[in-house]
Point group: D4
Chain length 230, copies 8
């Protein structure tokens, strides 16, 4: 039906404008809509990152698209077409408090990878066992950007906020129950953190944190010499 | 007017029943009501702890009561009559994250003191500067009960929760603004803390935390030999 | 895939540090993650408490793990390996308001049992029929610690708070509908209770209440002579 | 200015229709508006109950009105003109949990009085000291209607709900702080009470509870013989 | 297993105490728990009202119980044993705003019927088509008690509140979406209604409204002569 | 069963009164209730718009009704009977921010169509790529009424509010996650928009926005000469 | 100080673009900022509507501005310069539920007046006394646009929504207490109203409602012949 | 009193660790506490930024401190001691939507200045008059970091998010009323923004946004050559 033609406007110029490749939030879209959009992308010979693509939706996509898609179930992300090639040195550390936060952390890592950026992954370092964090701290502090993924009390964010000199981006997650309130408590705690200069993205928004990191990396790249983890 | 006679029932037996002295929450009561209650207390030759007594209300009390009252403005508490005498060794540590939390922390300390218990006071050890906490940790961990007073992100609670082997009671405070939401974020973070076995009282409820500590100390006292900070 | 290796850091030293055995919150984790963690535990010859393990997840675990697991569906808990052996005398009473609160109450009882502590179970004593509570009161008050499990109005907590001299830990539950707001009302009522010294854990957090009780019992054990329910 | 003439429509027929006299909620109205309304009432030779009339507003009313007004500061109510005459026997008990709830309780009592109904007043019987309630219970249960005024946890409502056979109307109050949430917790707990058949009015709405009681009393009066407290 | 024996305390004396028969809220209970409770009821030769019994749970009950159960799917209620016999004249009107509110309205009607009280049912009279309400008004106003069942804006409650002289009990429902907020808006609007003397029960609580009505009817019955709808 | 007869009152006069045809919100109604209502509509030879009719419910309707129903799954709307015939010129533009908002946008378009009004559809013009909006602006501004459908931040509403001279009706949608809060953020942002004179309907309420537009169009039609998009 | 020069950009072209004159929301601005803006307006020989100008702020304005300002305290609005001249016939009715809603209603009336539009004012017609509304209904329904101003339950909005054929714009107000929640309940009830095609503006936003009405009137004016209230 | 000595631990090493100078949040602290802290700072010969210092508190400070303090009332900030000297080129743009947001915007500018960084200030460019923003866009996009300060709908954030290639930090403000909900709506809209890679700080937290910017600038400085606005 012709109507579909006018239902989406892909923003292929976004990479030029912002340095971040086009991505598609699949949650809230029907499989038919996703298939139609991927057809358009194919027609243009473009690539696209798919986020929040549930396993069931992935399985229901047209075979011609599934074939091109590098899909990871844990992060619900798919690379449609080859990711950008980038420097091998990780300038971003993605740090997660608990095993339940891994899906969100991986969404950040995969978004970075699709845009050509490697990341160091440091997981299960929640502050309830502070030694788990402190023994990994040297691996963390040298990165230009640290993405801190944490739910429930999000105490990891505040502790890192006082120790990490680089850019610190908090991703509150919806793990936990009761007073965790679907991530609202972690979100509030991250925003109210007394550590200075922590910036925050939406609950479970690993994609957004990676984009915020990409904005920083792009600035660094434009500022002259290539940089790695100190 | 006779009506006043029937308007309050002081619970002088509470000390017998629960081991905690009678206290009066002054917020929400008129000065006339407080004066009438103190008259009753005087008549019985009893003592009473006053909490949340604003400076203005304190100044407006009858002179005969003000004279007997040991009042502290910071914690808004008053001792009406002599506090209980107790052992000199502090078995409770009251730990506060920031200077703004001092009023609440002192409410806990004063409630303990009125019930004959000394407390160690360790303040301004918020985790945004983790070294401030770690250098005081040896002073904290040996106590039987630790009362952790923290607002905003309340990250102090979770960090202590993984390090303190004794009973840990969190008092979220209403310090901060915006996403601190009047203490709701600190409350939620304390309840959702991944550190095991943290128990929580109401926002700004230094009095309640002290009472919870008194319940523990009473158990310890009944269990045999006197104890001090290890 | 090697990545899994680095995705969790079990805190086997927690028992030494806090006197509480390692536990695994299974909600929010995939069966594959749980299986991988249990392999690690097996390799170390350690034991572990599993909480919030849904029946479906339990059924999907690797047979080698299911075989070792003492699982209870009502509380969604599993003992992986033998529980600690402890004194037979119950020093903790777990009191629940209604039949719908039993799952949470049993989570507390099972957590205590895994850590070697017996508990008295006193159920369906909500205050709407006050005689149900008062006739069981003598069985309750003698315990060192009382865990009060109640949803909806959580009035049981306040009533017990004025009658129980020991440590009182409230577990609000998510039973009820509408204004019960998934346990938020019970949580708020427990925190705002006018009974002095009630401490509170997260909604439905039977595990946390048991851990808070264990912290108290450990203090009592360290304080000298063994103690039973008076 | 003529405009004022058309700005209010007094509902003098309400007494005929509902059996409840006209009342004026003064909060949110300017003194000039209240004065203009009272002029209208005077002109018709009618009477009116004023509620939520702050002391400052009372003091600023026109002298000609203040002279006719029987004002009580605690409940912020005023009788403008003589109250209805009624039977001396109290068929309503107004029960309040704490001293801070007295203003609201008195608003109910005064509303009943203005409509010719006496009330028994039983105050400071919160369940934290259960004996305070149980020793007054015989004075409470015989009334046709019981108005239960309670803030914070509102546990009084649930306990009464299981013991009082008559009509039970809960008035949650805004006393307390933090998790009391301005009365929302007491409201939620009253609505979620497991005691069957409790009905609830708005936070601090002593006036509304009295009106609900008047609806019941009117039914009883129409149903035949006069009745008193059994 | 013997444990089940102690897991519930049926309150068979409640009818004596409050004039309302024992009822069982089935939501949140397992089928095994319900079956065990019904066995107990059977053993005593008692009867019981079941509420919030989902069709699936009903189908899964033991055949011996299903046989005795008069079940209605729309209201999710079951009569276990014969309902009380009562006067044929309806003294209660149950009025519902829309077709989606019928389940809750029928819960009220069925609860009344189980306790021997007939009710007039007047449905789909929401105020958006005011004529629908006004043409049924004569059928409504003569009842002693009116139960108003309405979701979304609950405007029906306020309109009835100004027209009905009897006791008016509002049941907000969870119908609607978005700003209806699962019934919170209807609940708030019912509580904030400017019509005097409206009393309110929990969202979707048709059972509670019926119990509140039963309290009123019992008073009327005790007050002398039998009464019908005027 | 005869009861069904009295359970709904169709408002066939609504078209006369308000100029908007009768519609049926199917969510919250059983298939049996919908079937019974459609029988009534058939009997009168009337037509009806069905909204929020899930695909499953549609499939379960009686065949005699399904045959007459023009159903669209994306918008969950059905035309029962022929829509009104209207002018071909679109005086309303329905503008949607993203692909996920299409279901709601189509609900508005279909409601307009059922009432004889054409609409211009302009989709996927969210402000994150401002050029997508500005290049379509000339197609938008000439319409008498613009319906802006947007979720998450709803920034589209504010931007249009400053550019569109006609009537602007915002429909916040429940797309997004976390801080999108099921549409509450978009609703709040639309209401708090600094653009003057934006009016707002409920979350996801495409039907309501169309009805608000119909009220405007009817005024225009009554005001004299026929009008098209300028 | 020169900085002030760059701190505001007056939108004098707004009238051309949207047909609504420039207005200044004074709340949140300092008197110095308001004075500076008025100087700018004076310099251009322009006019401006001031809203939410508190009496204290008005009194503190520079005398040169106060002199030009037609200020009304009740609505907190000021006309800076002469209002537009318009047709004498009122095409808008501003309807308010209670006396406490008058300030907001007058803000709407004054905004209309400043833009050259007369309004009919119909006040104190809340539905708790339905006769008050029905006797004024003929004065209301003939207007092209009806602005309904109501707080607490906002039931007036729903009742009017089913009776008024023109454009209906609801302004929820913050009157009331407790469950009125500062206007959130009235806002929710207006949005969830079952009356079709009601559109809603922000709480207390009389200004916004008037602007929405102006958008409609402008359409009508452009559509040909002049129109009055039918 | 000696107690004060132990009540705060100034984090003078923070500059070394994080590159951000020590700052004092004055809200929630007494004047005596602030004076004591400034004495400590003086003793060390250090400098400090004071934030949220109300005019009244400023006026009440000890004269010896007031003398050293460069205070700005609009932003409530004070420089205690000389700010750092920095490059003259502004690499940060602080962009504010409305005049009411100026206090927060200036807090960011002053924090940057105290740490030696100049900022371009671009104010009153809210999107309701899109031309105000677009005509200033060339002045904005070239900066390395853009701090977007906006309340109410915060639409400015999303529009900038799609146009600015640098790092974009949103500061939601508490301006507005009703559905603006004290900044929660602006906060939610900023977090839910569909523009990729926007990061967010707490409501009204101009200080935090500046600190986040400083973290980025420090990275850039470390990455080699000095940089200015492109």
């Amino acid at each position: 039906m012709a109507m579909v033609e006018t239902h989406f406007n892909l923003d292929f110029a976004r990479h030029e404008r912002l340095g971040i490749g086009e991505a598609l939030l699949c949650a809230g879209k029907t499989v038919a809509q996703i298939d139609a959009i991927l057809d358009r992308v194919s027609d243009r010979g473009a690539t696209m990152l798919l986020t929040r693509l549930a396993s069931e939706a992935h399985a229901a996509l047209a075979a011609r698209h599934r074939r091109r898609l590098d899909y990871e179930a844990l992060s619900r992300t798919g690379f449609f077409g080859a990711p950008a090639t980038g420097a091998g040195t990780a300038r971003v550390a993605v740090v997660a408090a608990g095993t339940s936060d891994l899906g969100v952390a991986r969404e950040a890592v995969r978004t970075l990878a699709f845009n050509g950026q490697a990341a160091s992954e440091i997981y299960d370092v929640g502050v309830a066992g502070l030694w788990r964090l402190t023994e990994r701290l040297p691996d963390i502090v040298g990165h230009d950007v640290v993405v801190a993924v944490a739910g429930m009390d999000a105490a990891l964010v505040s502790v890192l906020g006082g120790l990490v000199p680089g850019v610190l981006i908090a991703v509150p997650t919806s793990t936990g129950y009761g007073a965790a309130r679907g991530g609202e408590t972690a979100l509030g705690a991250s925003l109210a953190s007394c550590a200075p200069g922590v910036s925050v993205v939406n609950i479970d928004n690993g994609y957004g944190a990676a984009c915020a990191a990409l904005r920083v990396l792009r600035l660094l790249d434009r500022s002259g010499k290539p940089r790695g983890a100190t």
